[in-house]
């Protein structure tokens, strides 16, 4: 486990070093090429700003309106007998919509219920094994104009829910 922590903290350094050395060995003007990439990056960030702003404001409003808490409450009444991990419900709701909120929610859950409890483990697993579906779809289709993206969103959402079951299953299997 020490190795994993070492690897994750130094992975970026190794990757950057490796790429640069590779470039030098192939006799490329590494800095010049790097600059070209950075300029592309600048344009990219600027062109993505509208998507980010629009999306995050909408998600922020959704969060502040209290509707998510409301839905979780209602859903819990229905699911009380089937789904025993009540604390995780808000996370399941938020994960596909907002990455940062889901992270904050996950931390909150682990603080309240303990990191190494069953709920803490499932929470960590859900956080690590899926992406923010709505965000990813909005981001990658933002420059494509009008297209029907409903199927992709539905596929992503089904996968997010499946991920919850796989996470619980992983715990039951005893591999974490």
């Amino acid at each position: 486990m020490k190795f994993i922590q070492y690897f994750s903290s130094s992975a970026v350094i190794f990757i950057v070093g490796f790429v640069i050395i590779y470039g030098v060995l192939e006799r490329k003007n590494v800095f010049e090429v790097f600059m070209k990439g950075v300029i592309e990056g600048e344009k990219l960030v600027v062109s993505l700003f509208p998507t980010w702003l629009g999306l995050f404001v909408a998600v922020g409003m959704l969060k502040a309106s209290g509707i998510i808490d409301f839905l979780v409450e209602k859903l819990y009444i229905i699911l009380k007998n089937i789904f025993i991990y009540r604390e995780i419900l808000p996370l399941i709701f938020l994960r596909p919509i907002s990455g940062s909120t889901a992270t904050a929610m996950g931390i909150e859950i682990m603080k309240n219920c303990g990191v190494d409890t069953n709920i803490g483990l499932i929470t960590s697993c859900i956080m690590g094994s899926t992406e923010t579906t709505i965000y990813v779809v909005a981001l990658y289709t933002s420059k494509l104009g009008q297209k029907n993206v409903k199927p992709v969103i539905i596929i992503g959402l089904i996968a997010d829910f499946l991920c919850v079951f796989f996470s619980i299953f992983a715990l039951k299997l005893g591999i974490m």
Binding site: G23, K36, V57
Partner: protein, 194 residues
């Protein structure tokens, strides 16, 4: 669709806030979201540009070919009809490898380029091509070798074993990834029949 979702989010928030009587919170959230987003973009700006630079070096050396080869056994099966030497395929490879390494900020630019290239060879501009659906769907899953963020969070919360979840995350993310591929294949088959 994103159009509708966006409007839906805002309209439902406003209506619910009026019913709930917490318009003040909603009001504040708009301004704090704007500030937060701007702050996030500033924080992201440097890192995004930096990774774009590194990716540019990868794409101008033979490293891109090497990355392509690493991921090829999986990619060839997922993107059967895509030209292996095309730009789209190469960018998809870079996107997947950087995603696996957990550098999301590097994966995004490569991913956007891949979508752009896919659009160029898209026969019907009114809809997403099969490859686009597959590629975007895959990106909604997270295939990370080391889930660094979660480990860091668990560490900060004084977990007895921060990286103990790694097998669970592998299992769950690989299963999710496979389900996405199956779901997408089913959807694409249905779409072709129609």
């Amino acid at each position: 669709m994103i159009n509708k979702i966006w409007c839906f989010f805002i309209i439902i928030s406003v209506i619910f806030s009026i019913l709930n009587g917490n318009l003040e919170t909603l009001n504040q959230s708009i301004f704090s979201s704007i500030t937060d987003t701007t702050q996030m973009v500033i924080n992201l700006f440097g890192s995004m540009c930096f990774w774009c630079g590194i990716i540019k070096i990868i794409s101008e050396t033979s490293l891109q070919e090497k990355l392509k080869k690493i991921i090829n056994p999986i990619n060839k099966r997922i993107f059967k009809n895509l030209d292996e030497n095309g730009k789209a395929y190469k960018n998809i490879s870079v996107n997947m490898v950087t995603n696996m390494l957990g550098i999301g900020n590097a994966a995004t630019p490569a991913g956007l380029k891949a979508v752009e290239e896919l659009e160029k060879i898209n026969p019907d501009k009114h809809k997403l091509s099969d490859e686009m659906v597959m590629f975007i769907a895959i990106n909604t899953a997270s295939l990370q070798i080391i889930p660094t963020n979660v480990i860091a969070i668990r560490n900060s919360l004084n977990s007895a074993n921060p990286s103990g979840i790694i097998m669970g995350v592998w299992f769950s993310s690989i299963m999710t990834f496979i389900s996405i591929i199956i779901l997408t294949k089913i959807y694409l088959k249905l779409r072709r029949k129609r």
